[in-house]
């Protein structure tokens, strides 16, 4: 039954082009359906076409369920907030929803490539909303090169071990006795290929062009929903398939460079959307770093915190910038007369910096405990320095936004309500974090079960 999460949106997408006027209602209906239906899914391996491990199957485990609840929910909220914008791009958004659910559910490497392309193409079309064809074209080229490299790595892996099914890749690797060194080339290609979409260093020059002047709809979707999906997919691949033996030196260098470059650029920049996009690059680097070091639970927690806070920050940031220009100086005192948005923004910003009483603090604590556990000393220092830098530029931003005279007024009740509700979630999870811990707990042993048994 899990395939309905992909089949129904595709059906609605095909039907939605018949009549442009009703396309939006189909979008709202299918987004609500996906969000509600994802709560009724049972865990298990759903085969498509009934061919067991030789066909394509969808894997629903705790890891996928968390991704589905989180991202279908945020997708629904984002679409509802920007009603006018999503009316024009309704069909593209429905296909994007199918792509996101496909990415989270699929258990087949080539199927992942196809859904990567679907999500990519609908993301390129979403960015055309910002009326900047050159940066959308740049995003298209880098995205296609990225998925091309992923396909190259995937095919070399197939020729070596003979299967495309994620869960029995590991069991075949052991039977053939392929040592990590022989598998280094395909895994490196797949890593760099996915790194493009996950905003890692070698190919992330598209991020600045796309998100710099992004409107609330495409900005929020690209920076929080699609980024969260790609990071979750990256996590699944890095733990079950691409067992890179203790994070080869090159990969660690790429990740550390991404984290530092992202945070320093955010520190230097003076435009609100630029700060947000560079900080999301830094966070993405940190998340992938955690996955390559086997800290699966901490990575998932960081993704959840990241996606929730980026959703709030980018929705408010983009609408402020659309209303009164990008420079932080012009936005001085913007929260004076839209207090509620200001509170939501502040809660999300403080949660990202990791101050106590917010969910971000719980996540940072876990991350540091995890890294100290694996007793290498350089990286915890880097992470502490990085969160220090984060704290400085977010506090600086908040100070400017709260104090000063400005007549900016944003009238969007739906946005205020949803932003505040997400902010409340961030606070509640910060204080009473036990339910989230139990939610995340079963991931570790499920992944181990997949690696060993291959049968779920």
């Amino acid at each position: 039954m899990a395939v309905l999460l992909i089949a129904i949106p595709l059906l609605f997408a095909f039907v939605s082009i018949l009549n442009k006027k009703y396309a939006f209602y189909l979008l709202a209906l299918v987004a609500a359906f996906n969000f509600v239906f994802s709560f009724f899914l049972e865990k298990g391996m759903y085969s498509i076409g009934g061919f067991g491990p030789f066909g394509i199957n969808l894997l629903v485990d705790q890891y996928a369920l968390i991704g589905l609840w989180l991202l279908n929910g945020l997708f629904f909220l984002t679409v509802m907030i920007n009603l006018k914008a999503s009316k024009k791009l309704a069909t593209v958004l429905i296909v994007l929803l199918a792509g996101i659910n496909g990415l989270l559910l699929t258990n087949d490497l080539f199927n992942l490539f196809v859904f990567l392309e679907i999500t990519g193409i609908s993301a390129y079309l979403l960015t055309t909303e910002n009326k900047k064809p050159v940066s959308s074209f740049n995003y298209l080229v880098q995205g296609t090169v990225g998925s091309g490299l992923y396909l190259l790595g995937l095919v070399i892996l197939y020729s070596m071990i003979g299967t495309l099914n994620m869960s029995d890749v590991i069991s075949r690797i052991y039977t053939i006795g392929a040592t990590p060194t022989t598998l280094l080339l395909p895994f490196m290609l797949m890593f760099i290929g996915l790194g493009v979409e996950a905003k890692l260093l070698p190919f992330n020059s598209w991020v600045k062009g796309v998100l710099e002047k992004a409107k609330p709809l495409s900005g929020t979707l690209v920076s929080s929903v699609i980024a969260g999906t790609i990071l979750l997919v990256f996590g699944r691949l890095l733990t079950t398939v691409m067992v890179i033996s203790n994070a080869d030196m090159l990969i660690t260098i790429i990740l550390i460079a991404t984290i530092i470059a992202g945070e320093v650029a955010a520190f230097k920049s003076t435009r609100i959307r630029e700060i947000l996009l560079f900080s999301s690059i830094g966070q993405a680097g940190l998340v992938v770093y955690l996955f390559t070091h086997g800290l699966l639970m901490q990575g998932v927690l960081l993704i959840i915190a990241n996606v929730l806070s980026k959703f709030v920050l980018f929705t408010i940031g983009a609408s402020l910038a659309e209303a009164a220009g990008d420079e932080v100086e012009e936005l001085r005192g913007a929260f004076k007369n839209n207090k509620l948005l200001g509170i939501g923004f502040t809660v999300a910003a403080l949660s990202v910096t990791g101050l106590p009483l917010f969910f971000g603090f719980v996540v940072k604590l876990n991350v540091l405990l995890g890294i100290f556990g694996s007793y290498d000393l350089i990286t915890p220092i880097i992470i502490l320095v990085v969160s220090l830098i984060e704290g400085v530029y977010f506090i600086k931003l908040l100070m400017k936004l709260w104090y000063g005279e400005s007549n900016v007024q944003i009238k969007n009740v739906l946005m205020t309500v949803s932003v505040l509700s997400v902010a409340v979630v961030l606070i509640v999870l910060g204080v009473y974090y036990q339910p989230m811990m139990d939610l995340v707990a079963p991931i570790k042993d499920e992944m181990i079960m997949i690696i060993q048994g291959g049968s779920f």
């Binding site: 076409g49 030789f54 593209v92 193409i121 079309l125 080339l185």
Partner: protein, 248 residues
């Protein structure tokens, strides 16, 4: 000069990859792919459950009746890929129409006038090309090619009409309607499979005798649907490229 250095660097990287692949013990050399160790051994044996059963050309009721193994993979074993694939084309055609299309369009004045031969010849050729396209789509499970090339040939016949007549514009609403109906039909066939036998896109019709036209269950039906869908996708793309906005 800088470009030349960049070219050398790229060639060196290529040779490096070739070298690492060559002396990589588990990477099979060109031509020495061992099929038995691969998943596709089961696709050839057409029997995912037990080991070695021989498939004969005239034999019947195997897992998939399609004589063409590639078609059995594309339309049966890994049919979900093809569904995703059709969505990629659908969203590309929609995107191109979104980017280039506008309220009213009129034909682009190309700087060549179709001469007499082209106009007369195209009317005769149009029917033949459409028939070839349909033939290739329908016989997808017997002969090479299938829904994708068949559909593109149908779109090529539409292109021929565009080239042979300056004022010609196809009925875009018709193609959009066909595009959405065929796409919805494909998903509905999948859902029927889901309700009939619990697996999405399951081959619920009998697989018949390998080699006959009406064999292989839903594969011919799926391929005809894909052929029509790909044909309408490309026709919409061609129309968006060959028209321009009516300047107000």
């Amino acid at each position: 000069m800088k470009k030349f250095l960049a070219l050398l660097a790229v060639i060196a990287l290529g040779v490096g990859i070739i070298k690492t692949l060559d002396n990589n013990v588990s990477f099979p050399k060109y031509g020495e792919a061992v099929i038995e160790s691969r998943v596709s051994n089961f696709y050839i044996k057409k029997n995912v459950t037990e080991e070695n059963s021989e498939v004969l050309f005239g034999g019947s009721d195997y897992e998939t009746g399609s004589a063409n193994f590639v078609t059995s993979i594309v339309a049966n074993y890994r049919s979900f890929d093809t569904l995703g694939e059709v969505t990629v084309l659908f969203i590309s055609a929609f995107g191109v129409a979104l980017l280039l299309g506008s309220k009213e369009q009129k034909r682009l004045e190309l700087n060549f006038k179709p001469n007499f031969m082209l106009q007369v010849g195209s009317r005769a050729l149009f029917a033949i090309i459409v028939m070839v396209g349909l033939y290739i789509s329908i016989h997808g499970h017997l002969t090479p090619g299938g829904g994708f090339p068949g559909g593109t040939i149908i779109a090529a016949s539409v292109l021929l009409l565009y080239l042979s007549n300056d004022k010609f514009r196809t009925n875009i609403r018709g193609f959009r309607f066909m595009q959405s109906i065929t796409g919805a039909l494909y998903v509905i066939i999948g859902l029927v499979g889901l309700f009939v036998s619990g697996f999405f896109l399951e081959n619920f019709l009998g697989t018949g005798i390998v080699g006959n036209l009406f064999s292989a269950g839903i594969i011919p039906i799926v391929y005809i649907i894909i052929g029509l869908k790909v044909g309408s996708d490309f026709s919409i793309i061609i129309d968006s490229f060959l028209t321009k906005e009516v300047s107000k």
